[in-house]
């Protein structure tokens, strides 16, 4: 099942399937946006765990490749994952 990263609850993990640079809502940064996420290690096939989300639709804290990242919500919405148990 393909879900946006924001659909995961705190503590849940998934495998990244794709990063949609331009889901057609505007505000995408195209190449730069996607490249940036890749550079930070969010490549397809990577395991990602949501640690917690900040309130008021704030950023989420994720654990990926042994490090801890803060991701803006708009960005997290465009990262799609396959749920793992």
């Amino acid at each position: 099942m393909k879900l946006p990263l924001t659909a995961l609850k705190d503590g849940e993990s998934g495998i990244i399937t794709s990063v949609e640079a331009n889901p057609g809502r505007g505000g995408g940064r195209g190449w730069g946006f996607q490249k940036r996420l890749m550079d930070m290690g969010l490549t397809p096939g990577t395991k990602i765990t949501v640690a917690k989300s900040a309130p008021f639709r704030g950023p989420i804290e994720v654990h990926v490749r042994g490090s801890r990242l803060a991701l803006g919500r708009g960005m997290a919405e465009r990262i799609f994952v396959e749920m793992t148990k």
Binding site: T43, P59, G72
Partner: protein
């Protein structure tokens, strides 16, 4: 015998202890400047070692060598084109995989390299053990374990570096990509080798496959045909993998980094989470995080202002004690007026800001940054900052702005793109700094009550929000979302923090002092030649007719450009009383405070704007804010008289 010169560049992710190693290596022989034409800090230092004079360049902390941020561009341009003799890659042992991703990219540049495997003590606390000899064997470059804050391994690092340079060995590229990718990299490399190109061929080939705009542009200028061949090859890879070519390359590079990391590290999870984890949980907590943040920020401001007010007065008394001396030397005529009232008072104004307020401000800021707390604040404030088109990190310069706009302006460098720096810079100049707080509290707060002062702050926040949004819409380009590593909390290295604060203070002095002194001198001259009243009269259409203020306020507002709180002090002098209620009506007080709060902060801030964004943008912001302040002041004056509140 003259010593041979060597250049060594330090490169690595942010927060891996790079500046600490830089400090350990170069001690006091440092020079902090900017990269030519860029607002990116360039730290350089020299040391003497085994008959060599070694220049150390501390490159900015970055995660990749793409074109995402100015820092990345500066770093890769430096390594690829200026070619230091050696690159020391500083790696955080507790986040090995991510760091290795960067290492592999550095190795593609083909410069001789040594790795400093730093913070091994912190990694061990997290239960991570790394076999550095195995790592060294896999990578083919020397790997030196270090604990920089204790100075461990730094000497050996230097020894190995010089050894490698003397041997003149170039590392073999280790990051082998998949066969179908590797084949095309080789083809492109061959094409590039045929043309005169400033970048290393294999590196440029990989960058082309990654879709790098800058390298593409440079190749297009030389040979558009070659570029289209390259594009075709990239398309082929996309056809095979079903992902964009840039994704394929980056994924494979990360796979390689992950493979190496798994091979050399052993992770034994600790039963009890370390202190730093508990701190992280509390400081980013949904509910608890916010009161903790407010408490931290308030106590910082409280202690800085308590310390600042005390020392500032002490210093001021001390320095003014020299006035009789100047009278003795220069008499009491015009010369003394100009020298003392113009130059000396300008210096005093500068000193009594810089030492008591700015110095502790910077010190605490760097302590917070180095410990890791600033990134947690950015995490908590991201949502709010998005309302004005910025992300969480922008909260840091904004917060600084409440102390002084100058460091706030310079602090906008933490934003990734030029657009966001400008936007954040503009917004910070609207934040009421300490001097403006003096006016708001000293005039409106003292005579009309605290609720009116608070109202002014709220109005200011609304204006910031409104103008920030407008600027966000008006500026071309798109907003960048927050992607930020939150490294583990750690104890800051005091010496490094102290040095960073010191360099910032120096920068502040260099930027603001000349202008404060020149400005102070100019105003003194105007006073001496009796131009004050004519100027007040010229300004009266604005001050009297539009703003409804006494004509004399025009002069004080001009003085305020030097230091905002001077507007209040001058007002008292010119009106002959500190009981402002006798000379100003309540609505005049509000209008005056409002204008003083909004029109361009002060001459030092203008200088900081010029330095960061160029004189054109600085002039635009200045003129805009002056007009805007007058506009708002006039409207407020009309609303207040219409409402007949007072």
């Amino acid at each position: 015998m003259t010593e041979k010169k060597l250049t060594i560049a330090l490169a690595g992710n942010a927060n891996v202890g790079k500046s600490v190693i830089f400090n350990q290596l170069t001690g006091l022989h440092q020079h902090i400047g900017n990269w030519p034409g860029k607002t990116v800090e360039k730290a350089e230092g020299t040391l003497h070692f085994k008959g060599y004079t070694i220049d150390i360049i501390d490159l900015p902390g970055i995660y990749s060598l793409s074109t995402f941020s100015i820092e990345e561009l500066v770093s890769r341009e430096y390594i690829a084109v200026e070619r230091p003799d050696l690159v020391v890659n500083i790696v955080d042992a507790s986040v090995l995989e991510r760091n290795l991703f960067f290492t592999l990219q550095l190795m593609e540049l083909g410069t001789p390299m040594v790795m400093a495997l730093n913070q091994i003590d912190m990694a061990e606390k997290k239960g991570i053990r790394i076999d550095h000899e195995k790592l060294q064997k896999i990578l083919g470059i020397p790997v030196v374990p270090t604990v920089a804050i204790k100075g461990k391994g730094v000497y050996e690092l230097l020894e190995r570096s010089v050894e490698i340079i003397e041997k003149g060995r170039i590392n073999p590229p280790v990051a082998k990509y998949g066969e179908e990718v590797e084949k095309r990299i080789k083809e492109i490399t061959k094409l590039i080798e045929k043309i005169p190109f400033k970048y290393p061929a294999r590196w440029a080939a990989i960058k082309i496959l990654e879709g790098d705009e800058q390298v593409e542009k440079e190749i297009r200028e030389i040979s558009p045909e070659i570029l289209s061949t390259m594009k075709r090859l990239a398309k082929e890879i996309e056809g095979i993998h079903g992902h964009s070519c840039s994704t394929v390359i980056t994924s494979e590079r990360y796979e390689a980094a992950g493979r190496i990391a798994r091979e050399v590290q052993q992770i034994v999870p600790k039963v009890r989470p370390p202190m730093s984890e508990t701190l992280h949980t509390i400081t980013t907590h949904k509910i608890l995080g916010y009161p903790v943040m407010v408490l931290v920020i308030l106590s910082i401001f409280q202690s800085i202002f308590t310390f600042g007010d005390y020392t500032s007065e002490l210093l001021s008394n001390l320095l003014y004690g020299w006035e009789p001396l100047s009278e003795g030397l220069l008499g009491t005529g015009i010369v003394k007026d100009i020298v003392w009232g113009g130059i000396a008072e300008g210096i005093i104004a500068g000193v009594t800001i810089a030492l008591p307020y700015i110095a502790p401000f910077y010190l605490i800021l760097y302590l917070l940054e180095d410990s890791g707390y600033l990134s947690r604040i950015a995490f908590l404030m991201d949502t709010l900052m998005h309302k004005i088109g910025l992300h969480g990190k922008a909260f840091i310069p904004l917060m600084l702005g409440y102390g002084c706009n100058v460091p706030a302006c310079l602090g906008c460098r933490i934003m990734e793109t030029e657009r966001e720096r400008l936007l954040a810079g503009f917004v910070t100049t609207l934040i009421p700094c300490a001097a403006r707080t003096v006016i708001i509290l000293g005039l409106v707060g003292a005579f009309l009550g605290f609720q009116w002062a608070l109202a002014l702050y709220v109005i200011d926040l609304l204006i910031i929000f409104l103008l920030g949004r407008l600027a966000f819409k008006a500026l071309p380009g798109e907003p960048t979302a927050l992607i930020m590593e939150m490294h583990d909390y750690r104890v800051p290295h005091l010496k490094t923090v102290g040095k960073q604060a010191w360099f910032r203070l120096e920068e502040f002095i260099k930027i603001s002092f000349p202008l404060i002194i020149v400005g102070s001198l100019a105003i003194k001259l105007i006073e001496v030649v009796n131009l004050l009243d004519p100027i007040a009269n010229v300004l009266s259409p604005v001050t009297v007719s539009w703003l409804g203020l006494p004509a004399i306020t025009g002069i004080t507002l001009i003085f305020g450009v030097l230091r905002k709180e001077l507007t209040l002090i001058m007002l008292a002098t010119l009106l002959g009383t500190t009981d402002f209620a006798q000379v100003l009506t309540p609505s005049q007080m509000i209008v005056f405070a409002l204008v003083a709060m909004l029109y361009i902060p002060c001459i030092a801030t203008i200088a900081a704007l010029v330095k960061e964004f160029g004189s054109k943008k600085a002039l635009f912001i200045t003129v805009f804010e002056i007009i805007f302040a007058i506009l708002v002041g006039g409207i407020a004056s009309r609303i207040l008289s219409f409402l007949r509140i007072f």
